[in-house]
């Protein structure tokens, strides 16, 4: 192996790095339609996390993508049971705007949450639509994180729409889930031009060359690690980062430093 990365060598030998932990900023929880998960629940997820050196994961409940109130309650219980390992995003389903507003109102009651999860494509509702406004205003007012699914050329969450939202709510941190998959040029420009926008590696990592392009065109200080776990094995994302032609300093930014900065206001010990 001609890859000289110390971190890559550690991951190949031991599956994790003692000096470079991982914080996963894009997780879920529970079973979901259309896919079999061997490890859908907390104890199983922790097993995968431990094997890959993932110290903490920020999740939203799959159930919440349908019934946000039930799903967010479920997520709160997991976060409460595993402080410091599991953090939560409150899912906002804009198709039920009254329930979405109640979820915004409930935000302060559960410790260990860092912001909101949007899935505009999944809900067929634009991220720039009015039903997301209460959550975005709250996130902006309290400097929270919004992880939104984003996909290239989507009419609901394409990167140009993310740019509109990021400009309007500059105190909220917007993580572009999947980095606007496939519309890379635009997504990277949005991340470059907006201080409050970060790229998420989830699923994007698999595309050959994309990690290096992100680093070269945006900078490793704007990229966070994400797996959709229990969807994807953290080792696949870690392997994609380890075997991209970037520096170990970049790898540290991606694996944990950027997330530590974003998570600092919310850390539970």
């Amino acid at each position: 192996m001609t890859n000289n990365s110390t971190i890559a060598k550690e991951f190949v030998a031991r599956g994790r790095s003692e000096v470079c932990p991982i914080i996963d900023m894009h997780g879920h929880y529970g079973t979901f339609s259309g896919i079999y998960f061997p490890n859908p629940y907390a104890e199983q997820m922790l097993g995968s996390m431990d094997r890959a050196g993932v110290s903490a994961i920020v999740c939203s409940s799959h159930a919440g993508l349908c019934d946000q109130e039930r799903g967010n309650r479920e997520m709160a219980e997991v976060v409460k049971k595993h402080p410091g390992r599991f953090y939560g995003y409150r899912v906002i389903n804009p198709n039920h705007p009254e329930a979405a507003r109640r979820e915004v109102d409930r935000y302060p009651q559960d410790p260990g949450f860092v912001g909101f999860k949007f899935h505009p494509s999944g809900h067929s509702y634009s991220i720039a639509g009015e039903h997301y406004v209460p959550a975005l205003e709250y996130a902006n007012e309290h400097s929270l994180i919004v992880l939104s699914h984003t996909w290239g050329h989507s009419q609901y969450d394409g990167p140009k729409l993310v740019a509109e939202v990021a400009a309007k709510y500059p105190q909220a941190t917007i993580i572009m889930g999947h980095s606007g998959y496939g519309e890379w040029d635009v997504a990277f420009a949005v991340a470059r031009e907006h201080d409050n926008v970060y790229l998420d590696l989830c699923a994007a990592y698999r595309v050959n060359g994309v990690v290096a392009r992100m680093v070269n065109e945006v900078g490793s200080h704007k990229i966070v690690f994400g797996t959709d776990q229990p969807w994807f094995d953290p080792h696949y994302c870690a392997g994609s980062v380890c075997f991209s032609r970037i520096t170990d300093d970049d790898r540290r930014n991606i694996f944990h430093r950027n997330a530590e900065k974003l998570m600092a206001p919310f850390v539970q010990t």
Binding site: M1, T2, N3, A8, F11, V12, G15, G34, I35, Y36, F37, P38, N39, Q44, M45, S48, R51, A52, A203, Y205, R206, V207, N208, G209, V210, V211, A212, R213, T227, Q229, P230, W231, F232, D233, P234, H235, Y236, C237, A238, G239, S240, C242, F243, S244, R245
Partner: protein, 245 residues
């Protein structure tokens, strides 16, 4: 572990997916970066230009590359493009080609007994692996017709395809899947626990997919070292050693 990639490609694509390896040397450079000694390789032209052109190019380019093992593409015999079955197998032997692939949608044919009956019967007897992209309805029908055919499905979707391929793993002992896009959390360990380690093959999916993702997933799959070694390369070496040309 002695890695042996079952799914890599080189050549200049019409629409580059991103970085690609134009030549065997460039592919070998990426393999070296990731610590992969050997690979079963296709040429882009086999798919995007024609099997006749691509098969020739992959043979020529790998002639002096012992680490790269060429794959050829098939088309139906009815048009005469591949010659006779006897000539086809003779040519495979001459060019040390031990696996074939097919692009039925791209090359506009049906992958079934009507179209490939005698060829697939012969490939079954000779244990020549047929490498396919996932079309689960088509593959399920194909295996019902040719249950002894050695099949390797590569680059199946990462959107949970276990419910499609696990019945095939259970029914057909010469059906295999690669790991290039199998990043389901716990998927490799779970599949090994149910079906043993002999049915999964390490594949990179390069250059469409990042070469190291699948590699680290297998290397740290939470299975025994023997099972990892089988998936990493042992299974593919065994399959190729069984081929009778």
């Amino acid at each position: 572990m002695e890695w042996f990639d079952c799914c890599a490609e080189f050549g200049v694509p019409g629409i580059p997916p991103g970085p690609f390896a134009a030549t065997p040397a460039e592919l070998l450079d990426e393999m070296d970066f990731c610590g992969v000694p050997e690979a079963l390789v296709s040429h882009v032209a086999m798919r995007d230009e024609s099997p006749q052109a691509g098969n020739r190019l992959v043979s020529e380019a790998t002639q002096n590359q012992p680490r790269l093992h060429p794959v050829w593409a098939i088309v139906p015999l009815h048009t005469g493009e591949l010659g006779t079955p006897t000539a086809w197998f003779d040519a495979m032997r001459a060019d040390r080609v031990k696996a074939v692939t097919a692009y039925p949608d791209r090359h506009r044919y049906l992958l079934n007994g009507l179209t490939f009956g005698p060829l697939f019967e012969e490939m079954s007897a000779r244990k020549i692996p047929l490498i396919l992209a996932p079309d689960w309805r088509g593959i399920t029908s194909l295996l019902a017709e040719f249950p002894r055919l050695t099949v390797i499905v590569t680059r199946h979707s990462n959107w949970g395809e276990d419910r499609y391929f696990r019945p095939l793993l259970e029914r057909y002992q010469r059906f295999h899947i690669d790991t290039s896009n199998y990043d389901l959390d716990g998927g490799v360990a779970d599949a090994v626990a149910r079906y043993g380690p002999d049915r999964l093959l390490y594949g990179s999916g390069f250059p469409t997919l990042q070469m190291g993702g699948s590699l680290l997933t297998v290397a740290q799959a939470g299975i025994s070292d023997d099972a990892k070694a089988a998936i990493a390369g042992g299974n593919l070496r065994r399959l190729l050693s069984e081929v009778k040309l």
